[in-house]
Subunit: 457 residues, 2 copies
């Protein structure tokens, strides 16, 4: 028996997906039983990068999601609508879903999973996060026997590309963003990437799977990279760090016994020690570290985007569903009511998403983290002492505090630049100290406050 | 319904496995339906690191593999016998198998898979390679939609620990091996590790899964790290490399169209460019790079051994089987002949191993690789010219050839040390050139010949 796929969208990822499905030789043999039945597009006349069998291209997307012959609907259109309506319609017609749409799943995953569980169909989204890296399957299946402690990822290629170039070339954010836009590495409206929103979508999806609770996107703390300057990158370099945009989801250790666990979920630029496995992830590459008990830490790295890598994950999900359909078909012989998929328990619990409860998310003030802060102060004795005293009053333990010769040449001579690195401290305490420091006459400005990571692996 | 596990062995991995099964809270909820029914050991009186429920410890291993109540037999005893007989007996009694035994699976995987396919049971072995890194599942499932081109791994922790310490401390192999033995990082008989045999077992397993053909262990070229000296590590360092024991399985590009593909499968110490993702894998950590089309390269890194990490993989396999049993049980309602698992097609094709054919393995002479070679020669003009001429005659393209001031102080003044790095060349050609160079009066010895890797990711 064949498994029939209806593909919604024929952009970069859609074309990559079709290319794999149309050339199954040398791949998993089960792919030979997967048939690309429909490809839904907006325009039949637009030139396409690949040759499709005749009769499968259509502009009638509604008809694809309703076609009784279609087993799996693959949504690679992007955007919220009409993707959401088409997916819900497909689920209502008993289709399994494969999607690469992180924005949609981060916002409407709850509705989609609920509908899918009622209909007894799978919703698979390996391609929604970290392109070709099989992190979703690992979290749902292999790593699921662990108590996951934390997920830390570089999961936005555009910002990693910009930060890598700032690091390597010593350039400023705005210039490199403009160049990245002209080269096609950043969108003309770069907001979703550089403000961390795309990473927030993705970490909410990863956190939901790893901690088996749903995540409200508005609970995710999100800080982008627009404020990163070459001065801070140079300081970080001197101190043995690189700056990366990290997405982090971690158990809140102050509330260890909640179920689903209480989490801290956040996206922000972070100083990473150079020997940390994530520090060497450069350019558009993605990487995800998972720390679990009793496993320890595993790190996955690879291409975070691109037609081939993302299509690899889309087709991997199709393959998972095809394997289940095929296995069940063998068992199904003799069952009278073959089309009854209305019981959730008929789904493989490692592929389905039965979680209904939301995770409670701790406020950013409850996070324990190291900080890097840069202060512009009057160049007079006693300033460092004042900073140290205020941090001490707020229970902020300082790892190092110093004033370097690297002082910004644009500043007048009477001004000093002081950099502080703290140990792991409660963010709320640190913020309290900063609020008090801002009141000091001797402190002119605090151009940078960034979080920093401990060494790991 | 519960899924009942019979555990054979309660050493490090067995105890780690039991610990997870006995404390399922906070892990995948399906684990709560998995019951540790039996733990088979040699001695009932030996002190154990964990508290087991009463009545499950037994020395009657035969009874475990025959117990009609047991669904899954987990073999973590190690060694060939009695593990092999017990596994075959368990399969004959319809039990699914989870094993961490790479030596057994590399030598007898063929018999075991054949028996399992006939009996309609799964044989899972995530824990056999790279400890807690979920590389087996990735190769069998997610990455299987790609045409895999190459797998390159650091998959033996002992040798990586020794090479890392040689690199960091500048010590010699024998001294650091002795210290590693005293610290418990190397066995008293270190042969399996330092001669590359353990890595050969593991790469034959990975290659079999990635390329969907079986691998004869005796076809795997295997070279250990005993001959690596601190002189070579220092040279490599100067040239921008580190030396690692790599296990490599790659399609033989000279024979692109065979099915299953013709491969090169080999284990040998290798110079790796420092910016390569595998270069920073230090100590007992493992890492595996997979290059596929259209995916590109993904790299997995993590703990390669240890109770927690390996047990995580063992229990992940139990979970996979439990998920299938549970899913099928739901479908099974209404089927008359519930115990008939004699058809291979009843198994999920992403979990089972249906491959029967052996891969043809190319001889080491057919490998294309870079080489590093160190020559002790007379210190007289024209030697470099002679080397260059002979390499040229044998179609060996040289990347760099030089004579450094780092010359070994133990050597007399009339002797020079020359290091050559080649481009990718056919190993057979290189060997031909070396044979001719050995005949030169001016060449006293060739203490080191090592392969080197191109940059990647």
């Amino acid at each position: 028996m064949g498994i029939r796929v209806g593909l919604l969208g024929l952009g970069t990822v859609g074309a990559g997906t079709a290319a794999i499905l149309l050339a199954p030789q040398g791949r998993h043999p089960l792919l030979q039983e997967v048939e690309l039945r429909w490809v839904g597009v907006r325009s039949l006349t637009k030139p396409r990068p690949l040759h499709l069998p005749s009769g499968i291209l259509t502009t009638d997307l509604e008809q694809i999601v309703r076609d009784p012959e279609v087993d799996v609907v693959v949504e690679v259109m992007g955007g919220i609508e009409p993707a959401l309506s088409l997916i819900l319609e497909a689920i209502a017609h008993g289709k399994h879903i494969v999607t690469a749409n992180k924005a949609l799943m981060a916002r409407h995953g709850d509705d989609i999973y609920t509908a899918a569980n009622q209909a007894g169909v799978y919703v698979m989204l390996e391609a929604a996060v970290a392109g070709g890296i099989p992190i979703i399957q690992a979290l749902k299946q292999t790593l699921g026997v662990n108590k996951i402690q934390a997920i830390t990822g570089i999961i936005n290629g555009t910002t990693n590309y910009i930060l890598t170039r700032m690091q390597e070339e010593g350039g400023e954010f705005a210039d490199i963003l403009a160049d990245a836009q002209s080269l096609g590495y950043a969108e003309s409206d770069p907001t979703a990437d550089v403000d961390g929103l795309d990473a927030a979508d993705k970490i909410s999806i990863l956190a939901g799977l790893a901690f088996r609770g749903r995540i409200k996107l508005e609970d995710v703390y999100c800080e982008g990279i627009r404020s990163i300057t070459k001065v801070d990158i140079a300081y970080a370099e001197q101190l043995g760090f690189v700056i990366k945009l990290l997405a982090i989801a971690a158990r809140d250790k102050a509330h260890p016994d909640q179920s689903p666990p209480r989490l801290s979920v956040r996206v922000h630029p972070t100083l990473i020690p150079k020997a940390h496995p994530l520090a060497s992830i450069n350019g558009v590459y993605n990487a995800v570290s998972v720390v679990g008990e009793p496993l320890g830490e595993v790190v996955f790295e690879g291409p975070g985007a691109g037609a081939g890598a993302t299509a690899s994950s889309v087709v991997a999900d199709i393959l998972q569903i095809a394997a289940m359909i095929k296995t069940q078909a063998a068992w199904q012989v003799g069952i009278e009511n073959q089309s009854d998929r209305s019981q959730v328990s008929l789904l493989n619990p490692l592929l389905s998403c039965a979680t209904m409860e939301y995770c409670e998310i701790s406020p950013i003030e409850a996070v324990n983290t190291r900080f890097y802060a840069r202060f512009i102060t009057s160049d007079q004795p006693g300033v460092i002492g004042k900073l140290g005293t205020i941090f001490g009053h707020h229970q902020v333990s300082i790892e190092s505090i110093f004033q370097k010769d690297l002082r910004n040449k644009d500043l007048p001579n009477t001004v000093a630049e002081i950099v502080v690195i703290t140990h792991d401290v409660l963010e709320g305490n640190f913020r309290g100290a900063i609020a008090e420091i801002q009141q000091l006459d001797t402190v002119q400005s605090i151009p940078s406050i960034l979080r920093a990571l401990e060494q790991s692996l």
